[in-house]
Symmetry: C2
Subunit: 391 residues, 2 copies
């Protein structure tokens, strides 16, 4: 019986071009996983999502255990069927959301007890129960329960937390029911302390996992520190398993992490931005509420190949956002996810050519150049034709 | 120069199977127009909308003149380009929304002045300005400005209002710039009084319009009264022009009106319902918030051919609605519009076969039978397969 299988296709420095084979399909890496918190990538139909190029989505154990319930999803045939996403699904273990969303938390060696943010009811999440829930959901990739430490944190507190997370990882491994094409990932902790990260990675590798995640980063530390910790951590992980940097990030974070050998990412940024009037393009983030867009007939990015840029002007997106229309959230989310997937495809192609550094430098240049100059009105009629056909 | 052209293909009693030829495409009638208030059919992309079978959409002069402004839309190339809907668009004149949404209204012979519900700024809408706005929007079909009387209303008040609306219709006609494939529709008023309706229709026909709308119905009067007024009104309208019953309605209203010779409809019901957890099927309306759907693996209607019923269980829709997910509004709106378009296709096919009465009787029977029996859980595993593939 084999779990998910990682195939290394090419390398460019520390960067890797790979392929992750799973029971629900193959994922080209480096890959970005859109976040489908409550069994939906917000404001996207499964068909729109597939059209972005996404090959795997992430869902949240914490949210799904509370509503609609893991046992219910199992009775309904599992999460793939429930959310009509037949492709691979990775579920986080719920640890991070318990810490950020739940109320009246108590954490001890057994696990964590908490009150639901929805109805106040008490729940317990242990390493064993987290694995069981993800099994009920039929997750392609199950994550071990861990504690994501805040930043900054004292070294001894980080060490104690990390060591408990490692004991939890071992218990998760013991509780996990291995199946062909399904995988269990361990999560490296240890905050920003290289020796703790190394100890954590060693402990996980000794247990043996199908993939290794790097948790506890992108929690407020400077980017340079994140990259330094990442380098130290990645060098301690086996080359034949996928590496997943949790909760990251901005395009420039992705570029730096890909260059340091990370294969998988997830982040709410493109989807959450889409619901708050923010678009991501190679020019950086844009605020569509800004009046500068009100008369602009140009798409978000004239060179973007996504369905939103093919059909809709900035002026229209501005209007939708100002009017509070659902379609505004839909179109901006759609574009943002297309941008992220195109970015990942760009990383993959660059690694294959051995040209990742040049690709990253171009990204940096384009972002530094900022957005298109404000629309001057010049050439508007020429571009959009006469406002009326001749009589 | 000809306006929109109506082709009568078949009749079944008073019911008509027709085709409306316009500058932006052909509409098979009887047709239902989804409402795209603010240049978006709420929660639908243009591609999803097209997929429902919709051939024409309605947009609102009142909303668009206030935001983003008619002159702005004209500069951006017109409403078709603005909302990425190249097909036919009918715009209402704004009269109805001024009466239902605007503040501090004053109506006199010149027109109506009001304060915007968005920012309190004062605006004037005259018959001439309403036509000009719709011209700026590049509406395929322009509606004359009229006053939609409330129900009930005294006969003399109804007569005075209707006669002013008829003078406005004449001014609208004079202000209208005719173009090939574009049309101007008059609106019959007169509340529930057959002699006033006849007088109104006669006045409009004397002016001459590309189509005739029936306004001032579905404003609270009983269905039987609406049908009686409709019969009296339709009989006074020319057979070679399309007839449009404004703001109607429920499936059973559509059936009755189609049988009485109406060709065009619009209503917010399928879209508004979709945003308030209500689904329309041949079984009648369903409330997806109801706990009876929580474990139901069946689609809204097992016989529905729409993309929502093909992919999603009631249990999932229930979950989305309970979780306040945007996708819930998207999927229910999508299904509802598919249901409405399938209903219209059913009317059209039945008229062609001379079998409208039998078709309407079947609709009535199915609706009377009510929703599917609650899900018993029987056959769930058989239907949805094992919750897990064998190891």
């Amino acid at each position: 019986m084999t779990g998910v299988r990682f195939e290394l296709l090419a390398e460019d420095g520390a960067a890797r071009r790979g392929r992750l084979h799973t029971a629900h399909g193959t994922i080209e890496t480096p890959a970005f996983m859109p976040v489908g918190t409550a069994a939906t990538v917000k404001a996207m139909t499964p068909a729109m999502l597939r059209q972005t190029g996404a090959e795997i989505v992430l869902a949240n154990t914490y949210h799904l255990m509370l509503r609609p319930g893991a046992e219910r999803i199992a009775r309904l045939g599992g999460l793939h069927r429930f959310m009509a996403w037949p492709g691979p699904i990775l579920t986080d273990s719920g640890g991070y959301q318990v810490m950020s969303l739940a109320e009246r938390r108590t954490l001890d060696e057994a696990g964590v007890t908490f009150a639901s943010h929805l109805d106040g009811r008490r729940h317990q999440l242990t390493p064993e129960r987290a694995v069981e829930i993800q099994d009920l959901l039929d997750a392609t990739v199950t994550m071990v329960l861990d504690e994501c430490t805040p930043y900054p944190i004292a070294p001894d507190a980080a060490a104690a937390s990390m060591r408990r997370s490692m004991r939890w990882a071992e218990r998760s491994r013991a509780a996990y029911r291995a199946r062909a094409g399904y995988g269990l990932f361990g999560i490296v902790q240890g905050s920003v302390f290289p020796e703790l990260r190394a100890e954590s990675a060693e402990a996980l590798v000794a247990v043996g996992f199908d993939g290794y995640a790097i948790g506890g980063l992108a929690v407020g530390e400077p980017q340079a520190l994140m990259f330094a910790v990442l380098e130290a951590t990645v060098s301690t992980l086996p080359a034949d398993r996928p590496r997943y940097l949790m909760g990251v990030g901005k395009p420039e974070d992705l570029a730096g992490a890909v260059a340091r050998g990370v294969d998988l990412f997830d982040c709410v940024l493109p989807t959450r931005s889409g619901r708050t009037a923010q678009a991501w393009t190679r020019f950086g983030p844009l605020n569509l509420r800004n009046a500068r867009h009100a008369d602009d007939p140009r798409p978000l990015d004239p060179d973007c190949a996504c369905p939103v840029c093919a059909a809709h002007a900035r002026a229209y997106l501005h209007h939708l956002v100002k009017a509070g229309e659902i379609l505004g959230a839909m179109l901006l989310t759609w574009h943002n996810l297309c941008y992220y997937q195109a970015l990942m495809a760009g990383f993959r192609a660059a690694i294959e050519r051995g040209a990742l550094a040049a690709f990253a430098a171009r990204l940096e240049r384009e972002r530094a150049g900022g957005d298109l100059a404000p629309w001057s009105g010049q050439g508007l009629r020429a571009r959009s034709g006469l406002t009326r056909p001749p009589d």
